[in-house]
Amino acid sequence: MLNKVAALGQATLNSIAGAGAALIMLTRALVGKPQLRKSWPLLMQQMYSVGVMSLIIIVVSGLFIGMVLGLQGYTILVDFGAEQSLGPMVALSLLRELGPVVTALLFAGRAGSALTAEIGLMKATEQLSSLEMMAVDPLRRVIAPRFWAGLYSMPILAAVFSAVGIYGGYLVGVRWLGVDDGAFWSVMQANVEWGHDIMNGIIKSVVFAFVVTWIALHKGFNCTPTSVGISKATTSTVVTASLAVLGLDFVLTALMFG
């Protein structure tokens, strides 16, 4: 019994130490005078591998989720004779919830795991040590550009996701099931507000971007530099980041729309 309490205490201490290490890592990576000439190409490179490479999966998922929303929404709403409300239903679900959240989950799976594996591999092959011995700070050189890339990319991806999703809902609802074209858009416009719905969605996706990228980088940077360690860290990135996103989503939703 005492042993179990001790183990719990140890686990608590470890997680606090882990969070502290992650915080130190991030501050050391981001604080300091920026060197635009050197960091711009690095940022571009990372925006490419983190953002551009995730675009396909985001567009495809967004389209399908929007189409499913259109189909499901229609079958429910038509019972109440309220199929005119399909537009706002699709748009609000996407803008407030599905856009930021599903993008963050897909991002954690696609880009987050890749970031962890990449940095873990750099650690295992002594590339990070080697940078340090060359008097180049790996936090500034490797971590920082990846962090900014993640932070900039995810809100863009979330906006694309929502836009494509709404178009998917339009395809199914209007083109296929015959909801009135004008009503679809006008009822949507009457119910969706720029400041309230779209801005809050963007704020959500910025928060998620911060958390997911941070977790991915921290897991990679602090992994055990062996093949087992890297694969564990990668799994842990996806799990931790997904849970963090879902938990934070509840908190944010309560604050914004509660």
């Binding site: 092959t125 002594e126 590339q127 040590s129 340090e132 060359m134 008097a135």
Partner: protein, 279 residues
């Protein structure tokens, strides 16, 4: 024993003074009162059985790890007490050849070698190209400059990494197991390179290895570490003639001796009988 004669001797580039070290996650001391001096402009070999932390020693000198006790002086500056910025300044004067080569896998060989130059100098691209080609010529890989690290053989990537580590003309170069896993030809090439670089550039070299024969042919001075301390040091001839049993066992590769063949365990008879009792 060494400490009194070491202090501030200008002939020594690196002085390690009575250090105690263990990793954070363990209480087991890796070193207890280890001291050594690396003479300037010479090739010093650090040898010892596997697992006694030879690579750790290099990381300590590079400032990536800090000892719990003791001093490590590089050109008179105590590395563990330096601030980060000072340490980074100091690291520009040393370089390290990692066991795996540690080439950046997302750059070509050329960019890898140009990397430290681009980071730390304001040289023009033309000048950088000249330097890189010269360094590549020195390791015989000028023709391979457009290849990616993944396309290189083990020996070639180590040579490319060597070219990178001399790109900034450091004073000290540390080799971590440079001969491990090399075929005889590339081993010969690397031995030749280490020797040549040391002579032509006036480098101070530290080679950490357990390949006795190879290193004894080029080393000027040899330290043997075991039991958390230096157990023997001297020129290769002195050590080969040493009557220290441990040094003798290590240099001649005998299976049993002061470093036992068996991992610590109760005697076989006890264990078998003990197992019988437990039933």
């Amino acid at each position: 024993m060494l400490t009194t004669t070491l202090e501030g001797n200008p002939e020594h580039l690196v002085e390690i003074d009575d250090i105690y070290f263990h990793y954070n996650h363990s209480t087991h001391n890796l070193y207890e009162g280890l001291s050594m001096a690396i003479p300037r402009g010479k090739i010093t070999a650090v040898m010892g059985p596997s697992g006694i932390g030879k690579t750790t020693l290099l990381r300590l000198i590079g400032g990536q790890l800090r000892p719990q006790q003791g001093q490590i002086r590089f050109a008179g500056q105590n590395i563990p007490s330096l601030k980060r910025s000072e340490l980074y300044q100091l690291r520009k004067r040393m370089s390290m050849l990692f066991q795996s080569g540690a080439l950046f896998s997302d750059m070509t060989v050329y960019d890898n070698i140009a990397f430290p130059l681009r980071e730390h100098s304001r040289l023009s691209e033309e000048l950088i190209e000249t330097i890189v080609l010269l360094k590549l010529e020195a390791v015989g890989l000028r023709g391979a400059r457009h290849l990616m690290p993944a396309e290189l053989s083990g020996g070639m990537s180590r040579r490319a990494a060597l070219a990178r580590s001399i790109a900034l003309d450091p004073e000290l170069i540390m080799y971590d197991e440079p001969f491990a896993g090399q075929d005889p030809i590339s081993m010969g090439v690397i031995i030749k390179l280490i020797k040549e670089l040391n002579e032509s550039l006036g480098l101070t070299s530290i080679i950490v290895t357990h390949d006795v024969e190879e290193v004894l042919t080029i080393a000027d001075y040899v330290y043997i570490i075991a039991d958390k301390q230096v157990v023997g040091h001297g020129t290769p001839e002195q050590l080969l003639n040493s009557d220290n049993a441990l040094v003798h066992q290590f240099l001649h590769g005998e299976a049993d001796g002061p470093v036992p063949f068996h991992y610590r365990a109760p005697t076989l008879a006890d264990e078998l009988l003990g197992a019988g009792d437990a039933k």
